[in-house]
Subunit: 130 residues, 2 copies
Amino acid sequence: MNIGEASERSGLPSKTIRYYEDIGLIRPGRGGNGYRDYAASDVHKLRFLQRSRGLGFSVEECRQLLALYEDKSRASADVKGIAEAKLSEIDRKIRELTELRHTLEHLVHACHGNDRPDCPILEELSDTAT
Amino acid sequence: MNIGEASERSGLPSKTIRYYEDIGLIRPGRGGNGYRDYAASDVHKLRFLQRSRGLGFSVEECRQLLALYEDKSRASADVKGIAEAKLSEIDRKIRELTELRHTLEHLVHACHGNDRPDCPILEELSDTAT
DNA sequence: TATCAGCCTTCCAGCAACTGGAAGGTCAAC
DNA sequence: GTTGACCTTCCAGTTGCTGGAAGGCTGATA
């Protein structure tokens, strides 16, 4: 199939698919007219990429996952390791985001709706911002 | 203080601090020798930037947050509006990250992490449904 | 006073991970 | 035989930095 159909089936823009080829993630065949020709297995890989990118894996991590996926002798411990690292990264982000939420909530409550220039919370924030 | 100390205190690399100046986020003074001169308030802003950038806010969003943070004479309605918009944005991000966390956690727990070729993480990523 | 490390300066290049656009080839249909 | 929707390559731009070169300033030491 052509790139347009591969795009539709994988959920990835054609541009991105070509880019993934550029960086060696996939290697579709070529028709006599020079058009890229995608097999079902290519679409499968593209979907794999689409999902793992969406889960927050970097392209390089995706390359590893894809290699592990294709490798018959893959060790699931490797995959688990990558996923666990990602997990603690997500935890850290959630934690920090929650902290920022508190900070901002203070800010919102400090804005009482008049035009007074003084805001004691801003002063406090300048000391506690870490 | 010089950029090195501002860097140490804010947790941002000197390079990044100069970049933030390039794009107009901060405006430190200059000494007679041409060196940038950072006040304590500059360091506070830098830390604020460091934190909000680390949480996935774009530089443009940070610019807004910073305006809210430092502009004490702004009309309260505007301030509140920006802060509230950011708040719901933060909430959305926390929600999305939490979902992602659940998905990954499920996968990690389902994966035995031994050398057997079966790996639920890879199975899930390659699942053509969804 | 010279010199040397370790700061600081500017500018230019490149990274990830795309995205957009130009310029042109191909194909199916009317 | 000419649209118009595809496809191709290549080049440039995006965001938010990061690294390096080339050179100036500073403070301590010989």
